[in-house]
């Protein structure tokens, strides 16, 4: 057993740090660190920089332009990026669709789509969730009927993150109503510019436009946009959901959030001393830090095992639950740390150009909104209740 990084891992970490220090635009890092809104071009700018370095697709094999990193390397990269204030890498094309295409797509599909994902030509969004389905994904209703060389798609998708920027959407659609619910599902790639697609914003509880509804009315999709076989989409869907392991625990995000919390607690004064010296608040912070330190090791243990070929399975459910509980707790503490100044909220102050003086401390404005926004963590991507069910079924045999 050896807890430390190997020499080559340490060298790699230094390389990542050096890269971030020199190539991550200060402007973008400042937006991230100050909880500002990111525009489409901010994501694109950063992803282009990563792609130029060959680091945009840690999971991809080298033949497709990926970095083919080990689990530990991905972990290091994620941690360093979060601490440096890099924007998150949007997973829709890179982490979700691409693995499906590589495993189940035709040669043509791979040759066409993969390079365009890497170089940013196509911005992808996901068409999994439907209204009324929630965590019960297989109950989806969006229908695709074969008519000659096309599918005619009708239905509605929802929770489509950043769909407002997307060029393409990958969709789960129902191509058959026979057999079990899981059996009539297919996996389609749809150009967002196709007539009959309408996208409507969903405004979140903090007033933000991050997700969307997408409506399909007689949308014509060429049959060559089918991935794999018709009615086999459920297999691909599950592959997609279980493929992306790195990051389930959100260690990098929690690290960055905890560091931010600590700096807030050093500045905020309570009874004449910094809040971080308040025994009760310090105890709460220490407890979540202890949990996070343990989760880092739990996460690495799972990753190292996954690298050595063992399937992660329910372990990722454990990481998801504990990871979200910890992150939400940190968000809650940050909200508390602010005292009364958690209350004022000026939406425009989240824009890059805003330059009026802040209300209260300069870091205050986004904090409560983040707390509310991150309640989603325990709901989306399979609610924590669903995850507990998976653990109970697979690990306990119940």
């Amino acid at each position: 057993m050896d807890l430390g990084y190997s020499e080559s891992e340490l060298a790699y970490r230094d390389e990542v740090r050096e890269f971030l220090a020199t190539r991550l635009p200060k402007r973008i890092a400042n937006l991230v660190k100050n909880g500002k809104r990111l525009a489409k071009r901010d994501y694109e700018e950063w992803q282009a920089i990563l792609n130029a370095r060959g680091w945009l697709a840690p999971n991809w094999p080298k033949e497709h332009g990926g970095a083919e990193w080990s689990a530990v390397q991905k972990h290091i990269f994620e941690e360093e990026c979060c601490i440096a204030g890099a924007p998150r890498i949007l997973p829709f094309g890179l982490g979700m669709l691409a693995p499906v295409l590589m495993k189940f797509g035709s040669e043509q599909q791979k040759a066409h789509y993969l390079p365009r994902i890497l170089d940013g030509t196509d911005w992808w969004c996901q068409g999994y969730s439907e209204p009324g389905a929630g965590s019960d994904l297989a109950s989806l209703k969006t229908k695709a009927e074969r008519q000659g060389d096309h599918y005619i798609v009708n239905g509605q998708k929802t929770w489509t993150t950043l769909g407002q920027y997307a060029d393409w959407i990958f969709c789960l659609v129902r191509t058959s109503s026979e057999g079990k619910r899981q059996e009539g599902i297919s996996f389609l790639l749809i150009d967002m510019k196709t007539p009959g697609i309408e996208i409507r914003p969903i405004i979140l509880l903090d007033g933000e436009h991050e997700v969307n509804e997408v409506f399909f009315t007689d949308v014509k999709v060429p049959v060559e946009n089918l991935v794999g076989e018709e009615n086999k989409g459920w297999t691909y869907a599950k592959y997609l959901l279980t493929h992306e392991r790195t990051g389930t625990a959100g260690i990098g995000f929690s690290n960055a959030a905890l560091a931010h919390l600590k700096s807030i607690a050093s500045t905020q004064m309570k009874s004449g001393r910094p809040l971080k010296q308040d025994p009760y608040f310090a105890a709460r912070m220490a407890q979540v830090e202890i949990d996070l330190e343990a989760l880092k090791t739990t996460n690495l243990r799972v990753l190292v095992q996954a690298d050595s070929g063992a399937a992660p399975g329910p372990e990722s459910s454990m990481l998801k639950i504990k990871g979200t509980v910890i992150r939400q707790e940190i968000n809650d503490l940050a909200r508390r740390a602010l005292g009364p100044y958690a209350l004022p909220f000026v939406s425009e102050a989240l824009d890059e150009g805003y330059n009026e003086s802040p209300i209260g401390p300069h870091y205050a404005n986004p904090i409560a909104a983040e707390y509310f926004n991150n309640r989603k963590l325990s709901i989306f991507a399979g609610s924590n209740e669903i995850q507990r069910g998976i653990i109970s079924k697979t690990k306990l045999g119940l």
Partner: protein, 368 residues
């Protein structure tokens, strides 16, 4: 021992409840909150006309209530509709102070003519009522104030401000704090207005050499400020309870209708048990408010102990109830469109008014 409301209060409860259900839908509330002014002047007047404001003052002050029970009854109903009109700041925070000093402003507040806001806490105060640095100096017969007051509820629409400032003592002394009446139009007064994340109007108030009129005894205002906050805490706790009840009802309703995996989610034992715990916490909330309201007119230690106990319990239970409401609703609760999200936001953010869970736990220990 008697936990029932008397006839008058039951009527008050019914009248206000009916009025809000009919007139104050969530759509209207959001419209009011997002309007330029941040609330509805028409509603404000209607609350006054219905006697809701008068119910928060005792007969001596020209009202017909003013006890802990009245605060409880009125604000529970206001919480159920997430009412944004600045009743708390005018009628409770300022009202307590003004009626104690027999100010003739009270009559105008009760009639709806005037709004008054209390500008007390400052950026460095956190929740500490004695941590006041603003200074007031006497210049001939007049007083002149320099201050930065933070998170002043209802400030933008107030016709008068009550501003606290030091006339003696150090930043943390209870002694040496005085109260002043300030015209928001007076020289040197500036407001930085904003809305809170849960939709209530507030402002940071800056005073630079602003003229002010002394209210009550010089140096001795702390006790009155503390009393005003005690009453405001009872009110906001009841408001939180009202909001929690609605959030609970919405969640139970959702559990009865929303299906997953072919069954209503209310059939899931895990959610049932968590909602059972929510019901228990709602009863506990109500009990702690009953205690705080019941001891409001007792001696300081007894009163403040129960006030801090209530605010602490409500902070904890509120968080639990709001987070369960969101979690059980799932994704839909994350949206602006879902009413439950607005209830959850308010329930959580109440923790940041007048001292949070931790502040009041510590205070409870000190008072013990």
């Amino acid at each position: 021992m008697d936990f029932d409301l008397n006839e008058d209060r039951r009527m008050l409860q019914d009248t206000l409840g009916r009025f809000l259900r009919e007139q104050y839908t969530i759509e209207k509330r959001l419209e009011f909150a997002q309007s330029e002014q941040g609330y509805s002047s028409q509603m404000w007047q209607q609350f006054a006309d219905l006697g809701i404001i008068g119910a928060l003052f005792d007969e001596k002050a020209g009202g017909y209530g003013g006890h802990g029970d009245d605060l409880m009854v009125v604000f529970e109903q206001l919480g159920k509709a997430l009412v944004v009109e600045p009743i708390l700041s005018s009628a409770v925070l300022s009202g307590t102070i003004l009626s104690s000093l027999n100010s003739d402003l009270v009559e105008q507040i009760i009639s709806g003519q005037t709004q008054v806001s209390l500008a007390h806490l400052e950026p460095e105060s956190r929740y500490d009522l004695a941590h006041i640095s603003a200074s007031a100096v006497q210049d001939a017969d007049d007083w002149v104030i320099n201050a930065h007051k933070s998170m002043v509820l209802g400030a933008s629409s107030a016709n008068r401000l009550i501003v606290s400032a030091r006339t003696g003592g150090e930043a943390n002394d209870e002694n040496g704090i005085s109260l002043f009446l300030v015209d928001p139009m007076a020289s040197g007064v500036e407001l930085r207005s904003y809305s809170t994340i849960d939709g209530y109007g507030a402002a940071d108030v800056f005073l630079v050499n602003s003229p002010a009129q002394l209210l009550g005894d010089k140096d001795k205002a702390f006790a009155l400020i503390e009393l005003a906050h005690a009453r405001a805490i009872v009110a906001i706790c009841a408001q939180c309870l009202g909001a929690c009840e609605v959030a609970k009802d919405m969640t139970v309703e959702y559990m009865h209708t929303r299906k997953q995996f072919g069954v209503i989610i209310g059939k899931f034992q895990v959610l049932q048990h968590r909602m059972a715990d929510v019901l228990i916490e709602l009863e506990q909330m109500r009990s702690s408010i009953i205690n705080a309201a019941g001891y409001l007119e007792d001696g300081r230690i007894l009163r403040e102990k129960h006030v801090s106990a209530a605010k602490n319990l409500i902070g904890r239970a509120g968080r639990q109830i709001a987070e369960e409401a969101i979690q059980i609703h799932g994704g839909i609760a994350m949206t602006w469109e879902a009413s439950v999200s607005h209830y959850a936001k308010h329930i959580i953010m109440i923790d940041h008014l007048f001292g949070d869970t931790d502040h009041h736990l510590e205070r409870y220990i000190e008072l013990n």
